[in-house]
């Protein structure tokens, strides 16, 4: 009720995604911002003289390319393709993470096999959407078949696995799903596995994102080339960004609805105490199966999108590290929460970018701060004091930026588990409650 946010007169109202007008407006504004992010905004394309130094600031200078003096606009958002791709990756991984969130965060079934289901989706997507040749399988079907098809294939595999998985709990489940990852890598490296996936060197065409009715020449909506959408010139990278954004929003909406519906509540009951849930009339087996199926579907779709985005799939890409990355997303973002998962994905994908950006900046910097710090922590592998290796080869004990990112994840997971088990979302909730309870503490 307007002005009385706590007066719930129906369950629909109580379980609204955005329950107050403030939330609705903010959400709309956030989504609008995401849509504008890949473009230059002409209205604010102005230079401010004397602000060139701002461009030197890492991250900020890249994200908001403050006027450098050669006509680069004041606010560019991500017009720069360097940042479009990571953001597009965020949306793709977010879909998979949302699925895992339903399985692990909401239903409490720890799974390390999420990468495997993504791989299944990727292979199916390539098989359904890619062109065939002598060395390769492929059907060349349009996106509306290969994208859901990838999800469904993952669901089917998930259902085959689930009788085992559903009977297991905790560590045992984690180990069994971990086994899946290795089975997946092995299958991917078999000869027919390669025939499905196939490296670009074999002439493999990865599924196209163009929206076609069937296999006609001119797509209904062209996503793979530069072109004009409505009144705007859009590059292919921007098109991909927009498509993935729409898909991510759609899947986030679906995931949120699953969580707040009867199914979601049943899954939460199972998470909190499976025996109690069964006593209350929640069929454990059925709902665990549903959780596996949903999570596999999300993973499968994300896998196919992964293949379409990266243009190649290696079985090793769907290995343990990806699974751990998902766990990191959930733990850092906040397990069980949709918004936490989205924040977590952004964080986990973007952190390496930021770290790299800062390293680059330090490496180039000559100034008093950047220069000295750069001297201290960077090395080109010649044996000086730095711990971050900027050269391509990695001799001795210094680690490359990529390796340091893995260390960073490990440290972050440990810190979050100890300090804030609810993740970034938990921090947000704490901050929000602090102000919500103002001027009291409870």
């Amino acid at each position: 009720m307007f002005g009385r946010p706590n007066l719930y007169t129906s369950y629909e109202q109580e379980s609204q995604i955005f329950s107050t007008w403030t939330q609705k407006v903010l959400a709309a504004f956030g989504i609008l911002l995401l849509f504008l992010l890949p473009f230059d905004i002409p209205a604010i394309t102005t230079k401010i003289p004397g602000t060139g130094w701002l461009a030197d600031i890492p991250v900020l200078g890249r994200v908001f390319s403050w006027s450098i003096g050669d006509g680069i606009p004041l606010v560019r958002f991500l017009g720069d393709a360097d940042w479009l791709r990571p953001m597009t990756t965020v949306f793709m991984l977010a879909i998979a993470a949302l699925g895992l969130n339903i399985l692990s965060g909401v239903a409490g079934q720890v799974s390390l096999g999420h990468a495997f289901f993504m791989g299944v989706g990727a292979c199916t997507g390539v098989f359904l959407g890619g062109e065939s040749s002598e060395a390769l399988y492929g059907l060349g079907l349009p996106i509306w078949i290969w994208l859901p098809g990838a999800g469904i294939a993952a669901v089917l595999i998930g259902i085959i696995v689930s009788p085992v998985a559903v009977k297991l709990r905790g560590l045992y489940l984690a180990i069994v799903t971990l086994g899946l990852v290795f089975v997946g890598i092995h299958l991917g490296n078999t000869s027919w596995g390669r025939k499905i996936a196939g490296p670009p060197a074999l002439g493999r065409k990865y599924p196209e994102l163009d929206i076609r009715l069937w296999k006609e020449e001119d797509p209904l909506i062209n996503v793979s080339d530069d072109g004009r959408w409505l009144w705007f010139d859009v590059t292919d990278a921007q098109k991909r960004y927009l498509l993935y954004l729409v898909l991510a929003i759609a899947f986030a909406f679906v995931a949120k609805n699953i969580i707040r519906s009867r199914t979601g509540r049943a899954l939460q009951a199972i998470r909190d105490r499976d025996i109690a849930a069964e006593v209350m009339g929640v069929p454990e087996f059925k709902y665990k199966l549903i959780a596996f199926a949903i999570s596999s579907f999300f993973a499968g779709v994300a896998g196919a999108l992964f293949a379409a985005l990266s243009g190649q799939i290696l079985a090793e890409a769907f290995g343990l590290f990806l699974s751990v990355e998902f766990i990191a997303i959930l733990l850092i973002g906040g397990a069980g929460t949709t918004s936490g998962t989205l924040i977590g994905t952004f964080f986990v994908v973007m952190i390496p970018q930021f770290v790299e950006e800062i390293t680059k900046w330090l490496d180039k910097s000559e100034g008093p701060i950047g220069g000295t710090v750069g001297e201290l922590i960077l090395t080109d592998g010649s044996g000086d004091l730095g711990v971050i290796n900027t050269s391509t080869v990695t001799p001795g004990w210094t680690l490359s930026v990529f390796d340091w990112n893995i260390v960073l994840f490990g440290v972050l997971i440990i810190v979050f588990l100890i300090v804030e088990p609810l993740g970034l979302f938990g921090i947000w909730v704490k901050v929000r409650n602090y102000w919500k309870r103002w001027p009291f503490s409870y």
Binding site: L7, F440, S441
Partner: protein, 622 residues
């Protein structure tokens, strides 16, 4: 639905009653919300069409149970929609509603039921049903039906008088099919002089008496209080846009006026609190625009702010301290200005509002409150000042059951702290020349006590004015200040007249003191029995690292005694020397209605206290 039915031919006078008002709301705005009741975590809404439909069902049900004009329908329940529905249904069939306090012990239920001779009794759940079934059947021979609404625990009961609420409504629906228009016929026959309800007085002295209020009394109260335009800020009368939280016992005349009669008279939305313990949470959810509370509740809210303030994090504490200082200044400035802002207080309020007052009011659930009342007992001025300071306009009101609570009220812009306000316009109100007793004479004065003509006669003066039993005095010729109950005035052995309640209220203004009784009638000096507020003192003890086990243990700790004597000294400093409390003793137990120390409205029963703690009292004079 009920609305589509043809109305029975109008006979009789067509008197306006709360029932006919409800019918008119259902006709003019059937979709409008009338009541909300929290059930399964959701505020279930009753619009007027549904409400009136249920009232009709219940009305026909009463007819089917043989309720005739003037028959009594007793209601023993917490506040819930059924209370209001049955109440209005009883009025619709010209019955008389008798409300019982949910806390009434079995003995008082027996007394009330035998006294009023109800034919239908509504007992909400097993607890209340048990209290009736305990009574010897022959003592309440008139009682034919006991309606219950919560069947839990009642499945094995086989008393033939029991009937479930749903069955009762079903009975009504069948009766309606058989005799359409019967209730409407009865409604049309209503007379202004029909007794519509018996309101049992709390009975601080002697057994409770059932005050008979008529339809005319009720209409006068709706006209004079509910719809009196100057009562609310800006002269905006109550409307269906106003939200009310119903939580005080509906059998009390104050809650009846502020809830049922506001609903019928102005269409205000009633939100039934889940229980008295959950009022704070319900207030937070509903954010009522109109709010009425007894001083005990105001004191609790006030103490709650302090307790939670003390527990707040250091940063928040700093802000709170600042806000409290602001609130005190604003409160003082506004009080001195009749409740209006002065230029300075407006500026201070503009600073404090976004920082602390707005969220604080939101937290206690009074952010949207545009008018709050305090009545039924005297309130400490400090508490009022605080709430006025944070921007909750609380006005002290005065009235009693016997005059339908129509006597005086503080009005926006003209309030005077420490007084109960001005008489409502055009009512007869005077102070007796000799005793200073407040006396009223107007259309709201009751028809007498049920079955007690001698008591009724005592309640009136020879020239027909109602004796309120309260001594008052004029302040500035316009406002009235209540000195005390006539019976409570203490005359010390030195011959000095002292009003104990002023001293008691000053003591009770401390968040640590819950109960205080000043003694000294015929004695050389004043003494007091003091009961601590377990919550606040317990909290205080916790922070002082004082371990304690029970209420008694805590109240006998030397540190607590020191704390209380500090409060007593503060109070003594405010009064003349003869009015100083020389000694005090702690009440060793929490006072309770069940044990007979308090009335259902939580007022001290002085005589009972005197005999119960006689030794303690004598000890102070040795």
């Amino acid at each position: 639905m009920a609305l589509a039915e043809p109305m029975a031919a109008k006979t009789g006078t067509g008197t306006t009653t709360v029932a006919s008002r409800a019918r008119d709301w259902a006709r003019s705005s059937p979709q409008q919300i009338a009541m909300r009741n929290k059930d399964f975590g959701i505020w279930q809404e009753y619009d007027w069409a549904r409400t009136w439909g249920l009232i009709l069902d219940a009305g026909y049900g009463l007819l089917a149970l043989g309720v005739d004009a003037g028959d009594r329908v007793a209601i023993h329940s917490e506040d819930r929609p059924e209370w209001v529905i049955l109440d209005l249904a009883a009025v619709a069939v010209r019955g008389i509603t008798v409300g019982l306090y949910p806390t009434n012990p079995a003995a008082e239920v027996e007394y009330t039921l035998t006294d009023c001779g109800a034919t239908v009794h509504f007992a909400e759940d097993q607890e209340q049903v048990d209290k009736v079934l305990e009574i010897d059947r022959s003592d309440i021979a008139e009682l034919q039906t006991i309606i219950y609404t919560e069947p839990r625990g009642l499945a094995t009961y086989d008393d033939d008088r029991l009937m479930a609420w749903e069955d009762f409504l079903e009975l009504g629906r069948r009766h309606r099919a058989e005799f359409p228009g019967a209730v409407e016929q009865r409604m049309a026959e209503a007379e202004p002089d029909d007794v519509m309800t018996l309101v049992y007085t709390s009975g601080t002295t002697g057994p409770p008496k059932g005050a008979m209020l008529t339809n005319a009394n009720c209409e006068y109260a709706i006209d004079k209080i509910v719809n009196y335009p100057d009562r609310l800020p800006g002269g905006k009368p109550p409307s269906p846009k106003d939200e009310i939280v119903t939580y005080l016992p509906l059998c009390h005349v104050a809650e009846r006026i502020f809830s049922t009669w506001s609903l019928a008279g102005a269409g205000c939305v009633l939100n039934f609190a889940e229980s008295i313990e959950l009022v704070n949470q319900n207030l937070h959810e509903v954010q009522p625009t109109l709010f009425f509370a007894v001083p005990r509740i105001w004191e609790r809210l006030h103490a709650g702010v302090h307790i939670r303030g003390n527990d707040a994090s250091p940063f928040k504490k700093v802000w709170l301290k600042f806000a409290m200082a602001l609130a005190t200044r604003i409160g003082k400035a506004k009080v001195a200005n009749g409740g209006n802002h002065t230029a300075v207080s407006r500026v201070l309020y503009a600073i404090g509002f976004p920082l602390v007052f707005r969220p604080m009011k939101e937290r206690i659930g009074l952010r949207r409150c545009r008018h709050a009342g305090s009545g039924a007992a005297p309130i400490a001025p400090e508490v009022l000042e605080f709430f006025i300071g944070i921007g909750v306009p609380v006005y002290e009101l005065y009235g009693m059951t016997e005059n339908s609570a129509i006597a005086t009220g503080n009005f926006p812009g003209r309030m005077k702290l420490g007084t109960v306000g001005e008489p409502y316009p055009d009512i007869g109100l005077r102070l007796d020349d000799e005793t200073g007793e407040i006396q009223t004479k107007h259309a709201g004065v009751f028809a007498g006590y049920w079955n007690k003509p001698d008591k009724t006669a005592e309640a009136f003066t020879e020239d027909g004015w109602l004796r309120t039993g309260d001594v008052g005095e004029w302040v500035d010729g316009s406002h009235i200040k209540i000195v005390d109950r006539i019976k409570h005035i203490i005359i010390t052995s030195g011959g000095k007249n002292i009003s104990p309640s002023e001293i008691e209220n000053s003591l009770k203004a401390s968040p640590y003191i819950n109960e205080a009784m000043v003694i000294g009638d015929g004695r050389k000096y004043l003494t007091a029995l003091i009961g601590i507020e377990l919550e606040t003192v317990g909290n205080w003890a916790l922070r002082q690292n004082i371990p304690y086990t029970t209420y008694r243990d805590l109240s006998e700790k030397p540190e607590v005694l020191e704390l209380v004597s500090g409060v007593v000294e503060e109070t003594n400093a405010k009064f003349a020397r003869v009015e100083g409390i020389k000694k005090f003793e702690m009440i060793p137990k929490e006072l309770d209605h069940e044990d007979g120390e308090l009335t259902a409205t939580q007022k001290l029963k002085r005589e009972a206290m005197m005999s119960m703690f006689g030794e303690l009292i004598e000890g102070m004079y040795r």
